[in-house]
Structures are given as structure tokens and as C-alpha cells.
């Protein structure tokens, strides 16, 4: 019974995920695209929960669907009508080439995964209840992955400074 429930939740989340992903790419109003991406991120958080990644699901909703998307919506509101993105792409040749390249990329991913498929991917490992909990992630971050943790903080600092520099107006040097 619980098994069936997991499958139902999985299909709903995966369907919402793919549907909202297609909506993000195909809508012409960037505001609706951003809203669709919020739905995409929320349904991905459900998939993360099914994969025993509680902390990442919470971080996904807080950091992504919360903070990052608020930035997006602010910029779209700032740009107003200029942000509208009609479908007009490049020449038909370029559009066809883009579709072919995207499909080729997808085929590559599938082929690589198929080649790497082995017996160790048949059954998933047994994990304890603390797998993916904030405590387990925090402990790993402060022991095995301390360097990655520190570099991540530097990346965020540089990005914050870069955002301020890009957003500053230079009265004299302004072209």
C-alpha cells in the first residue's frame, strides 16, 4: 500500500516537474516563466524528499524557490514591458540546429548512463534515518568537505560584490 502511494507521488511530482519545465521554456511572458520555474523547483523538492534528502528539499524551497526566484521576479518587474520575450528566434536553420543539438545532448546523456549501468545500480543501498538530515550534511561539510564549504562562501562573496559593481551607476563614465 505504501509502495503504491510512493509511485503515485513520484508520478505526480515528475509530471509536474517536466510540465512546468516545458512551460518555462515555451512561455513568452518571463513573469509566467518564472512562476513556472517556482513550480518546477517545488516539485523537484518533492522528488528530493522521496530520495531521502530532507535538508536539500528544504534548502531547495528556501534558497531557490524563495530567494533566487524573488530576485528574478524583482528584475522582471523592474524591466516591465521590455522583459517580454516573443518567440522570434534566429533563422529557421539556427532553430533547427538548436533542436538537433539539444536532442544530441539528450542522447549523449542517455548513452553515457546506459554504458555506465551495472549491477551496483540494481538495488539501492540501505540507509539509516539520519541520511540526508541537516546534522549529517553539516558534519560532512565541516569535516570531509571543509575546503568545498570555504570555497563556496568565497564564490558567494565574489558574486555579491560583482552584483553590486554591475548594478552601480557611474555618473561620469556612463556611456
Amino acid at each position: 500500500m505504501g509502495n503504491v502511494l510512493v509511485w503515485i507521488v513520484w508520478f505526480l511530482a515528475a509530471g509536474a516537474c517536466l510540465g512546468s519545465g516545458i512551460a518555462v521554456v515555451s512561455l513568452t511572458n518571463p513573469f509566467y516563466s518564472a512562476l513556472a520555474l517556482i513550480g518546477n523547483l517545488a516539485s523537484l523538492a518533492v522528488l528530493y524528499l522521496l530520495l531521502a534528502a530532507e535538508f536539500l528539499a528544504a534548502a531547495q524551497v528556501l534558497v531557490y524557490a524563495g530567494a533566487v526566484m524573488v530576485m528574478f521576479v524583482f528584475v522582471i518587474a523592474y524591466l516591465g514591458g521590455r522583459a517580454d520575450a516573443p518567440w522570434a528566434g534566429g533563422s529557421p536553420v539556427m532553430q533547427t540546429a538548436a533542436v538537433v543539438a539539444a536532442v544530441a545532448l539528450l542522447v549523449e546523456v542517455v548513452v553515457v548512463l546506459g554504458l555506465a549501468w551495472g549491477d551496483d545500480l540494481k538495488d539501492s543501498a540501505e540507509v539509516s534515518d539520519s541520511f540526508g538530515s541537516p546534522a549529517a550534511i553539516g558534519e560532512l561539510f565541516l569535516t570531509d568537505h571543509l575546503l568545498a564549504f570555504e570555497i563556496t562562501s568565497i564564490v558567494l562573496l565574489v558574486a555579491a560584490i560583482g552584483g553590486v559593481v554591475l548594478g552601480t551607476t557611474h555618473e561620469k563614465g556612463r556611456p
Binding site: 510512493v6 516537474c17 517536466l18 519545465g21 518555462v24 521554456v25 516563466s33 520555474l37 518546477n40 523547483l41 522528488l47 528530493y48 522521496l50 530520495l51 534528502a53 536539500l56 534548502a59 531547495q60 534558497v63 533566487v68 530576485m71 528574478f72 528584475v75 522582471i76 523592474y78 524591466l79 521590455r82 520575450a85 518567440w87 534566429g90 532553430q95 538548436a98 533542436v99 543539438a101 539539444a102 536532442v103 545532448l105 539528450l106 546523456v109 548512463l113 545500480l121 538495488d123 539501492s124 543501498a125 541520511f131 540526508g132 549529517a136 550534511i137 560532512l140 561539510f141 568545498a148 563556496t152 564564490v155 558567494l156 565574489v158 558574486a159 555579491a160 560583482g162 554591475l166 548594478g167
Partner: protein, 102 residues
């Protein structure tokens, strides 16, 4: 095995990556390109987390968190660039922003 196996998650992950790359290559608005990039990064994240669960190893989740932080940084810089483009009255079209082309 209760629930879907890792293969099902990888199918969704690859499909998300394909949808995102289609958006990056087809659309001309830098805003939509950034949103599509987020979809690609999330497709990769889903694969990382699925493998972390499959192998019972938390390293994949740590990597996914690092990807999230890089995505946040990328959005901050990308949106800064878009606002700077709009301030200079440039068209919001990635095909026309080609001054740096060699």
C-alpha cells in the same frame, strides 16, 4: 525495492537537462536563458541526489548543495548583467549583445 528505482529519476533528470538546453539554445531573451540554465542545473542536481541515495553516500548531496550555491551566484551576476544592459538601453536579446565577439 519500495518505490521507483534510480533509473526513473535519471530519466526525469536527463529530460530536464534536455528541456533546459533547448531553452538556452532556442530562446533569445537573456531572462529566459537564465531560467533555462536553472532547469539544466536542477536536472544535474536530481541525478546527483538520486545517485547519493542509490549508493548510500552523502557526498552527492554535498555536491548538489555546492551546485545550488553556484547557481545562486550565477543568477546574481546574470541578473546584474541584464539590469546593466537595460540601463544602457540595449535590446534584451542575446544575439545582439555581440560586442565582445572576436
Amino acid at each position: 525495492m519500495s518505490g521507483p528505482g534510480v533509473g526513473w529519476y535519471l530519466i526525469v533528470s536527463a529530460a530536464l537537462f534536455g528541456i533546459g538546453s533547448l531553452g538556452v539554445m532556442l530562446r533569445r531573451s537573456p531572462l529566459i536563458v537564465l531560467l533555462s540554465l536553472e532547469i539544466m542545473l536542477n536536472g544535474a542536481n536530481l541525478a546527483l541526489i538520486a545517485f547519493a541515495r542509490q549508493l548510500g553516500n552523502l557526498d552527492g548531496q554535498i555536491f548538489a548543495l555546492a551546485v545550488m550555491a553556484v547557481a545562486a551566484a550565477e543568477v546574481a551576476i546574470g541578473l546584474g548583467l541584464i539590469v546593466a544592459m537595460a540601463r544602457r538601453d540595449m535590446a534584451l536579446d542575446v544575439d545582439q549583445a555581440s560586442v565582445l565577439r572576436g
